[in-house]
Symmetry: C2
Subunit: 281 residues, 2 copies
């Protein structure tokens, strides 16, 4: 594995690789890698000749009240894990190179970014679509892999890729969970031991919602209320949202049918955790 | 020369061409080609192995009060001219393919698009940067060629290309003028014979401004006023703006020095014409 920090070096290496007829897969991450990321890298390794994992804590996807400097980092550990999982090139650019003086261009997907996390983090997805556009142009991948844990992000990226005609195949890898069901996340690091022991309630509530729906419940409000109640039993929890939406349009449904996404964002202590479940009714 | 209408066909042809180690140049146009466009195509022909000229009247760069359907079109004549000038592939996509149902992603350069034409056409450059992003992803050029006549557009595209890390070299070709000095433009078609005979005042006023500056004038307001007066002698004229700006930042200057762009947009009858001149002081 080699580490590349320079944008032009990454571009010329990608160009050379494409010319050789090799397939490039990109796994964009913000580092502090866990099994969730590694599953994406392994999926990339199966699908491509060259796996590029990017590690970059992208400032434009953090809101003004969100502390980008506090985001956990451990580049040495990341380097070891990324290599073990099958990364060929670790791309680690600097802020100065990614957003130089005078930077002013942004990519925005409009409709899909207004609901769910977009409603609470109004500039977040603009930062995501902008950085992914930049990474696509720098790494020149044939395939890019995202995690289902960030369900809205995956859908927004698919839409952006289609709308802007990026010649990139988007693959979405399933959520990786701890044994107790908590979705893996770099933000779990913020949890106290007490909060960590309570956090699995998020996934448990999604599983209960699924059971209700499988049992015949079709009223989203009934399912949402039950889920909210379960989460409210945790004193340190504060719900941003629990929504039952169409899995394609991300619009709230009035009746549970078709391909449904149940998505939630909940603070446990100071960690804002997200989780979701896809259901076909 | 071959004509391609399908986006995926264009992409796979571009990909194949790049793999062969050939250089692709893109000349994006809205058609109704004149000598200005042809000079861009000839420049592309000198610089690249494969010249792709796109013809697409992009609806997203027209404002709500601007009639995209009225924009002049003549695809048969365009096909002949484009081929004669050295086009290898004429890319002529449809609206339905470019902006399918549900389309929602836009590229925006912020600061540079607030002045000059951007102040009068608030969504225009968003449409331009979006369509150019799409064309870059479809045609996969090494080089893209724009005209100096659209001075602000050229600067915005350069900024966007740099910011989003497109691996594309932007070349800007000089303004082509009729013998009487009027800059060539598809919009000149809207002029009545009387207006056509008066329209050269735009370039004449820029030349007078240049003379004043060469003669030592450093106050932009003095130069602007003189220019305005010249244009106001034409009864059918209505000035959107005459500005003297820094040629890099497009910010208005208080004193004329360095690299200066004098740019104007003036209605002659119902034709909104633009012109500009670069001066190094």
């Amino acid at each position: 594995m080699k580490t590349v920090t320079d944008i032009e070096n990454m571009q010329s290496y990608a160009e050379k690789t494409r010319r050789e007829g090799k397939v490039i897969a990109l796994v964009p991450t913000m580092g502090f890698l866990h099994e969730g990321h590694l599953s994406l890298i392994r999926m990339a390794d199966k699908a491509a000749d060259l796996v590029v994992t990017s590690i970059y804590v992208n400032p434009t996807q953090f809101g003004p009240s969100e502390d980008v400097d506090q985001y956990p980092r451990d580049i040495d550990h990341d380097t070891t894990l990324a290599q073990q999982a099958g990364t060929d090139v670790l791309f680690v650019p600097t802020d100065k190179a990614m957003y130089p003086q005078g930077y002013q261009t942004f990519v925005t997907a409009e409709k899909l970014t207004r609901s769910l996390c977009g409603a609470f983090r109004p500039t977040h997805f603009r930062g995501v679509t902008t950085i992914v556009t930049k990474l696509f142009n720098i790494v020149k991948p044939h395939i890019a892999i995202f995690g289902q844990k960030d369900a809205q992000q995956a859908i927004v990226i698919r839409q952006m890729t289609r709308d802007l005609n990026f010649d990139v195949e988007i693959k979405v890898a399933p959520i990786i969970r701890h044994e107790d069901g908590l979705a893996m996340s770099s933000r779990n690091k913020y949890l106290t031991p007490q909060q960590r022991s309570e956090a699995p309630v998020l996934y448990q509530s999604l599983c209960e919602a699924q059971k209700m729906i499988e049992g015949g419940e079709r009223n989203p409000n009934v399912v949402k209320k039950y889920t909210q109640k379960m989460i409210d039993t945790i004193a340190s929890s504060k719900i941003d949202y629990i929504e039952i939406v169409d899995a394609v349009t991300l619009e709230a449904v009035r009746e549970i049918k078709g391909n449904i996404l149940i998505a939630l964002a909940v603070y446990i202590g100071k960690a804002r955790l997200i989780d979701n479940i896809l259901i076909k009714v």
